[in-house]
Structure formats: C-alpha cells, structure tokens
C-alpha cells in the first residue's frame, strides 16, 4: 500500500527484549536437562513442578553462561544480584510465580554493535530467569485466558529452563536494523556457546517495543517523554517476523496518528501468516506481579561463589565475531565481505589463519599473494566442494592447504593445478585416506616448467618445426604488428606442446630469446 507523503514525516523507534535459553546441561534451579525434543513431562525434577518442600538449587553453569554473555555484550557485571518471584496465574507456571531478577540483575549497561556504519543498540540489563512450561493452546503469553471448555495439556519439560533476558534501550531506528541487530545477537550467542540461537526450537524469543515520532531521515531519536506511546509486540520467533512486525506496527501507528488518533499503549501479538499485529484479549490494566525477593535463594555474589572464577572464565571466551572481523581486515588486508564469510564459521576461519601462517610467517604482515591464494582456494574451491556435500564438514587441514599455497606462490604449479589438487585432496580426505600434497603433485605430474634451458629447448623444437617455417619467416621479416601476432601464435603452440605446464612468463622470455636467435642467424 502506498504511503502518503505525510508518512515520510514519521520515524519508528524500536526497543528490543530478547529471551535466550542458555545451552546448559541442567535447568537454572534443578538438575534436570532441558531439550525441546523430549517426550512430554519426562524432564522433571520436583522443583520444576513445584512439589511442596522442594527447593531451588542454583546451577553454576547457568551463572557462567550469563557472565560470558554479559561480557561479550560489554555489560557491567554486577557482583551482587538477587532473585525475585514474579507472581501471576497460568497453568504452565507451576509455582504461581516466575523466578527472575527484577531489581538486582546480574548485568547492567552494555551494547550490541551490529551491521556496518558503527551501528549499535544499547543494553539496559541482562537478567537470569526461569522459563515456563508449555500449554498446547498457549502461543502468546500470560495475558491470554485459555478458552472456556477447551482441554489443555501442560508439558512441564521446559519449566525451570534457564533464560537470560536481554533488555535493550529504545534506540533502533528501522525495522531492518531490528532484524539485523537480533541476527547479530543470535550469531554472537551461538559463537560464545551461550545459546544455540534456534528460533524454531524456541531457544530465542523476541519482543518488540515500537513507538513513532515525527521527523525525517536525519532526525535523532527524541527523549523518551517526547515519543508516542509504545506498543509491545510479543513472542516473535524469527528474524522475518521481527522485521515484518516492526514494519506493520510502524505503519499502523502512523495511520492512527494521521487520522487524528492517539496510539494507545498496549500489548499485541503477531500473526505470522497474515503479517499483522493484533491486540491481546486481556484488558490493559498492567498486571501487579507482587515482586518478592525469593526467600529460598541466597543473594548471588560472584566474587564469593564457590568454584566460580570470573577472570578465568572470561579468558576462555573465543574471540567475538565483530572483533575477529576487524582483526582479519587489519592483519590480512581482507575485504569486509570476505571477513564476513570467514567469521561465520569458526573452523574455516581457523583454517584460513593457520594456512596463511604456515605458508609465510607466524605474525603479520603476511605476503599479499599468499593471502590471496589462500582466500581463493578456501572460499571458492573448498567451500564449493563442501556445498556439494550438503555442507558436511570437510577434512582438509592447514598443512595440506598451506603446501598447495606455497607451491603455487613459488610458481611451481599454476592456479588450475592448485584447484585440481584441492579437489583430489578433498575427495581423499572424505574417504579417510591420508594424503600429502607433494605426492599428489608427483602422481599427477603437476609441475610448471620454469627452467630457461628447458623452455628454450622446447621453443626451439616448435620454432624449428618445418610446419611453421613460413610463420617463422614472417616473424624474421620484422613487421612489428605481425611479430606480436606471431609471438602469440608460437606461444600458444609451445604452451600446447608443454601440455600447459610451461610457466607463462618464463616461456615468453624463452620464446623471445629463441626467436631472437633465429633472426640473428639469418
């Protein structure tokens, strides 16, 4: 639907809230595992179904993942944080309250850089909390009343699973940015092994807060009290849905304002099929959660937690994607698009770096052609072969790739040979055969002819070939233009005779020498 000119006067402001399920062996306060695929009600400890007398036992691994996430997002880590009970009634909330960190979260202010052009979204806080069970009719959140007369099954497998909620400031300026920010976050959390990022399994859930203000492209976001009422759109479970929901909500709010109305503050859900947001059935009186510091859970003090060494923990975190991207550009002179490709796969990035280093030196600066050859062979050839095998991990190692690059850089083979070598090595590795690049070169006779004497001999044999006597004569006669043509002609013939193994540059030199000798004779 075409926007009216007036629509260009408005801009969206988007604040994200992301719930990420921690990839831990156990739940937040009980020893049960949590998996999306398990049969209903099979992953339960007494605490998960609020058996009276059961008590919460905090799992260290969950704290560690939260600490790592906070650090990766540049958040202030709060040494002391507390758990609180947030009360509301719903059948998939077994104890009648969620355990969360409302007033004293584990991490405070931070930021998530995303996209290009130095974009980032500021983070307000990160809090640890428990997940609810699942009911078969519940698609949205606690605001929905279950339909009267309908039978509802409750699966408590997910009850008590560990979540971190990452609350962002309302500082995102377009639906596309919202999608990109969440996509970056998803990748980051996967990279540091905090969350598997699988939207489709519910590991990642996103709520959007959208409001609008009048302004054009360059207008900065005004302070909070000058923004229109914000609308919350809950439980978006794909990047596509996030972008679509933000777009729809912006358009809807603009229409409301343009027709003289006021956007009401409310909570909505998103229909994935129709791509529209719809109001939730519950009346909009905000729920009173009656927050209570959980008396069963002592305060969490990181510096006093047994077996928790924050420093050691953070030292073990892999380099973050954004940092890696920058470093690859700086140290290897790679283009952003190539960096982007490499950081998406830890293993391939490692292969790249190990290869370059093995083929040249252990520290930058690295020779340009080594970098170039490695990039080409990895990103063009190896990745293509991998894709043919449905992306199965390949087994080519850095020694093999480096040997190929070294030989190529030395001019002992050409690029076509290098590609062939890669294919052969790839296939052999898939079959589990150990393979040495040098042996492949020998087997296949991949060897560039570089020796000037050899090359000259070869040239001689072609130039003096009776079949080309007239051509030779033309060259001797000396017309510059014709000479150029004949040099190309003879070059092609010699190259063919060498079965493509002649080094082009040296061949050219040798040919000129030989031709020169011929003309001297006459």
């Amino acid at each position: 639907m075409r926007r009216t000119l007036a629509a260009f006067k408005f801009k969206p402001v988007i604040g994200l809230e992301v719930h990420a399920q921690l990839s831990t062996a156990q739940k937040l306060f009980s020893p049960s595992p949590h998996r999306a695929s398990a049969p209903e009600n099979t992953l339960l400890s007494p605490y998960d179904t609020s058996i009276p007398g059961s008590l919460p036992i905090l799992n260290l691994e969950c704290v560690e993942k939260a600490v790592v996430a906070a650090s990766a997002l540049n958040c202030v880590l709060n040494d002391e944080s507390r758990f609180e009970r947030k009360h509301y009634i719903y059948p998939d909330l077994p104890s009648g309250y969620q355990v969360t960190q409302n007033r004293w979260p584990i991490a405070g202010r931070g930021a998530l850089p995303f996209g290009n052009n130095n974009k980032s979204s500021e983070i307000n806080r990160i809090q640890l909390e428990t997940d609810t069970g699942k009911s078969t009719t519940r698609e949205n959140d606690e605001s929905d009343d279950i339909q009267v007369g309908s039978a509802v099954n409750i699966d408590y497998n997910r009850a008590g699973a560990p979540l971190i909620e990452i609350v962002f400031e309302p500082d995102i300026e377009s639906p596309e940015d919202a999608g990109e920010a969440v996509s970056t976050l998803q990748r980051l959390l996967k990279h540091i092994d905090v969350c598997d990022g699988k939207f489709e399994l519910g590991s990642l859930r996103c709520d959007l807060n959208v409001s609008i203000f009048e302004g054009d492209d360059d207008s900065p976001i005004p302070p909070l009290n000058e923004l229109g009422n914000r609308v919350e759109v809950k439980n978006l479970n794909s990047i596509r849905a996030i972008v679509a929901a933000a777009k729809f909500e912006f358009d809807r709010q603009v229409k409301v304002v343009e027709s003289g109305g006021v956007v009401s503050q409310e909570t909505r859900t998103f229909d994935k099929k129709k791509l529209v947001s719809i109001p939730m059935r519950k009346k909009e009186t905000s729920t009173d959660y009656r927050f209570l510091i959980d008396p069963d859970i002592p305060p969490l003090v990181l510096s006093q937690t047994k077996d928790l060494d924050v420093e050691a923990l953070l030292a073990g975190v892999p380099e973050l994607p954004e940092q890696a991207k920058q470093r690859l550009a700086d140290e290897y002179g790679l283009k952003p698009s190539i960096c982007e490709i490499l950081i998406s796969d830890q293993i391939e990035m490692r292969l790249f770096e190990d290869t370059v280093k093995a083929a040249s030196s252990s520290t930058p600066p690295y020779p340009k052609h080594v970098v170039e050859f490695t990039t080409k062979l990895l990103c063009n050839d190896i990745f293509a072969l991998k894709n043919e095998k449905a992306g199965e991990p390949h087994k080519i190692n850095s020694r093999q790739l480096a040997d190929t690059v070294i030989t190529l850089a030395a001019g002992d083979i050409n690029m076509k040979m290098a590609k062939d070598i890669i294919k052969i090595v790839f296939d052999r590795c898939q079959r589990g055969e150990d393979t040495d690049v040098k042996r492949v070169i020998e087997e296949k006779g991949f060897k560039i002819m570089k020796n000037p004497d050899e090359l000259q001999e070869l040239c001689q044999s072609v130039v003096n070939d009776g079949a080309f006597e007239s051509d030779l004569q033309v060259w001797i006669d000396g017309d510059k233009k014709l000479r150029k043509k004949l040099e190309k002609f003879f070059f092609g013939k010699v190259m063919a005779k060498s079965r493509g193994l002649a080094d082009a540059g040296r061949l050219r030199e040798a040919l000129l020498v030989v031709l020169g000798q011929q003309s001297a004779k006459k």
Binding site: S50, G53, I89, G149, P295, D296
Partner: protein, 498 residues
C-alpha cells in the same frame, strides 16, 4: 520399666544397656496411642502406619541392639512427625483439605536422617493448616486436645479440662506429653514448636534458622520456617539434635552450627538477661508470676540474673513485622496450589482457568489460610509499603538481640502471653478470636525474626495447675549447643522430674 514419665534419654540408655528392647518400647507406645486416640479421642494423629510395619521395624532394631550395633543413640525409639513434613508414600496433608490425599514424591531430609538413624516413625501429628495458627484449631481434621491434663490418674475423665495444646505443632506436643511418642519433629515459624511444647508441659527447641534442613517441609514462610524438636526434657533435645543437625545440599538456606560438647558454665558464672520490655500488661498473671519466680530461683541458685530495659526496644513492632513477612511469604508459597499438578481440585469446564483456580482454593483452603493469603497479596501489591518497613524492623530486631546477647549468656522470657484456650465451649474452637491468638505470639516471634536458637522448657512440677507456663532460653546465633546445655542446666536446677 517404660512409663509415661520416661524421657527419650532414659529410653536410649535402657536400650543401650539392653534393659529393654525397641519391641517393648513400641508395645508401650501402641498402648499409649490407643488410649490417646480411641479412649480419650485427643485427635493427636492424622496418620498412623500399620502396626505390622512398625513391629517389623522394631524387630530389626532389636536385632541390631542384640548385635551390639545400633545405628545411633535413637535407634528403635518411637518418634512422631508433624503433618507438614514430607514422608514418602504417606499422605502429607499439612492438615489441609487441599492436600488431603497428597502423597509426596519426595522425602524430607529430616525424615531421611531419622530413618537412617534407626528411629521408628510411629505416626504423623495434627497441626494448624499449613502452620497457620497457634492453637491447632485450624485443622481440616478437627482440633487436637491438650493431652497433659489426661496424664493424671483420675478415672473420671469428664472432669478433665479440654484445652488447646497450642499450635501449630499441637499434635506433636500432645503426643510427647502423653508419651504416645518419645519425641516429635515439628516446625516453628513464629513459635509453633515452643508454644505447644509449653502448653503441653514439654520442651520445645527451635534451632538457629537453617540448623536442620527444610527440604521436604511444606513451606509456610520460607525465611522463618525452622525444623524443630519437641521432647520431654532439654537433654532429650540435645540428643535428638545431635543426630539431626547439619546443613544439606538440598537446602541452600541450611547451615552448620558449630558443635560444642563443653558442659555449660557453672551457675555462678552464668549471666541471664531478663528483658523488661517483654513485660507487657497483656501478660497473664500466672505467667508473670512464674517468670519472676524462675528468675529469682535461678538467682538464689547462684546465677547472675539481671533485668534490663534497654536494647530490646523494637518488640512493640515485632508482632506486626512478623505477620507482614509471614503473610507475604505465605501468599507466595501457597500460590502453587491449583490442583493441576497435585492436590485437590474442583474441575469445572464451564469457567476459565482463573475462575477454576479461585474456586478450587476457596473450597479447599480453611478460613485462616485464606485470610493470610489475601493479607499477603495485599502487602506485596504495588501500593503496599508495609513489607519493606517490616524488613527494616526485622533487621533492627536482629541487631538488638545481638547486642543484648553480648551482655548476657542467654535471655530468659516466657513462651506465651496467655493460657491455652478451652475447647470445651464450642468443641471446635472455630470461634477463636484470631487477633487474640496472634497476640499470643509476642514472646516467640522475636527469636523467629532474628533466627536465633530458642528453647522453651517446663518449669513446673507435675501437679502444678500452671503446667502450661513455659520459659524460653534464647541464645546467640549458631550457639545452639550451648543454649541447649544451659537450658538443661536451668531445668535441672528448677524442676524435680523423673
């Protein structure tokens, strides 16, 4: 050999020296249970295991003693447990219709420890529903009757007064007093061990908060609930405590108190503080009299007894602070009872879930429980300000108790403000004035809020009509052993029993 006057320690010694056997002890207990429940209808118990199963346990224990290898000093000793302590395979109802048929899938740590030590769990005792009450008149299974008056040998039972045994561990105290068990494990949130112990003429010990793990105890107010012991004498409490004490990985709020096997200081170097601020006008004259009496007798016996008026000044607010915190936590802890996962439920497919939830709870919770939940919900609501005020008072009180206990080894004060109510008039006690009942907690809530160890001991001889006046000995946090040994010393000084 075993009589209703035999203490736990005495029985332990008799068993150890093989002058009697667990089987004999069990037979004795079974007779007492019959007398208590069938003859006098005291309604002490909510559940009794089959006698065959008990005999089997007694036989096994007897064999161990014969072998010279008892599991612990309480091996073979019949003990009862309060109905809010999860006992695997048995109905753990907390005397509520909400959990009337609930069989817990978990077992409380304290019961694990009892079983491991060879004690024989002979029954589960009646209580105020979910621990809410001070007279055991708020039980879904009817009130329990104070057994103490029934110890007299008079044959005309119609003249025996029907009194409340106190609460919420009324059944526990009654079972110990009558010796239908030699000890009982209960819980004390605002006085629920100490008060019934006093009313039934027994000893009731509330450890430092967390001293015995809470895992498996049906929660009322988590930051106050403390597993405690009711026994005939303080020495018994020491013995039982030594077996049950210690933190558990199942309960992060549990803690280890340092064992202190030293004997108490001689009376001449014992300093006892008597907090004058607890001398309130509401105090029944019998109580005041006994308090003064106890203090002066101790003084005469050589102890340094001092009445002090400073430092404990927040007690006026302590009762209110207690109820604010307790109700707030209770409303949270009881939110889980929706009948979906366990417990009673009214199924009604013509209404939505919130209504079904409300109807179920309205039906199966008793009136006092509902009252406290609603109170708690209000306290925690957005407009509520009382909760943070109550927390401040609590901190204040903790400071004040600490300060007071720097100057004295222990504090001495009564366990209750009024006598046990009579159950005769209404027979059900449902017209109890609940606020009056709450006011009775004044003496006990202080130690609950502060989390300090407190033990109520009887200070009367057998035939004393004011048998129900108990005296509390309160000590420093973590100093449980010393508090008990001092209480034992005081008890021996004042009382001629056994």
């Amino acid at each position: 050999m075993i009589t209703p006057k035999t203490s736990l320690s005495r029985l332990s010694a008799l068993l150890k020296s093989k002058q009697t056997t667990p089987t004999a002890a069990l037979d004795f207990i079974l007779e007492r249970i019959k007398l208590s429940e069938e003859t006098h209808s005291l309604n002490t118990f909510t559940y009794l295991p089959s006698t065959e199963s008990l005999h089997e346990l007694a036989r096994a224990s007897t064999a161990r003693y014969a072998d010279g290898s008892p599991l612990s000093p309480i091996d073979g000793i019949p003990i009862s447990v309060k109905a809010n302590i999860s006992w695997l395979g048995r109905p753990t109802s907390a005397s509520s219709r909400m959990l009337e048929n609930y069989k817990s899938p978990i077992q409380a740590d304290v019961i694990d420890r009892l079983i491991k030590s060879g004690a024989i769990l002979i029954g589960q005792t009646n209580m105020d529903e979910f621990g809410m009450g001070s007279f055991t008149t708020n039980s879904a299974f009817g009130p329990s009757i104070n057994s103490y008056p029934y110890l007299s040998t008079t044959t005309d039972t119609t003249t025996i007064p029907k009194l409340s045994p106190g609460g919420s561990s009324g059944g526990s105290a009654s079972s110990v007093a009558f010796r239908s068990s030699f000890a009982s494990i209960g819980t004390d949130t605002g006085g629920s061990i100490r008060l019934p112990a006093a009313y039934c003429g027994c000893t009731g010990f509330k450890p430092s908060y967390g001293g015995i793990p809470r895992h498996g105890v049906i929660p009322y107010a988590s930051s106050l609930d403390t597993v405690g012991l009711i026994t005939p004498t303080p020495e018994d409490a020491q013995l039982l405590h030594s077996v049950l004490r210690g933190s558990s990985l199942n309960d992060p709020t549990s803690m280890d108190t340092s064992p202190n096997p030293d004997p108490p200081p001689p009376l001449s170097s014992l300093s006892v503080g008597v907090p004058g601020s607890y001398s309130v006008s509401e105090c029944h004259p019998s109580i005041t009299k006994k308090w003064i009496d106890t203090a002066s007798r101790l003084s005469t016996a050589g102890a340094n007894v001092t009445i002090f008026d400073d430092s404990l000044t927040s007690i006026q607010d302590s009762l209110a602070a207690y109820y604010v915190i307790a109700c707030a936590e209770a409303s949270s802890n009881l939110a889980k009872y929706d009948g979906v996962k366990f417990g009673s439920r009214i199924r009604d497919t013509t209404v939505d879930f919130s209504s079904e939830y409300a109807n179920t709870r309205a039906e199966f919770f008793g009136p006092e429980v509902k009252r406290r939940i609603e109170c708690g919900d209000t306290i925690l609501s957005k407009e509520g300000t009382h909760y943070s005020a109550a927390l401040q008072i609590r901190n204040q009180l903790r400071e004040e108790y600490s300060t007071a206990l720097k100057n004295y080894d222990v504090l001495l004060l009564p366990t209750s403000v009024s006598p046990p109510i009579s159950l005769d008039s209404s027979g059900s006690g449902f017209d109890v004035d609940q606020s009056e009942m709450m006011a009775n907690d004044l003496m006990t809530v202080g130690a609950s809020l502060a989390g300090f160890p407190a033990i109520s001991i009887p200070v009367s001889e057998d035939s004393d009509p004011d048998f129900w006046v108990g005296m509390q000995v309160i000590g420093r946090h973590g100093d449980d052993d010393r508090v008990m040994s001092i209480a034992d010393q005081i008890y021996r000084t004042l009382v001629n029993r056994e």
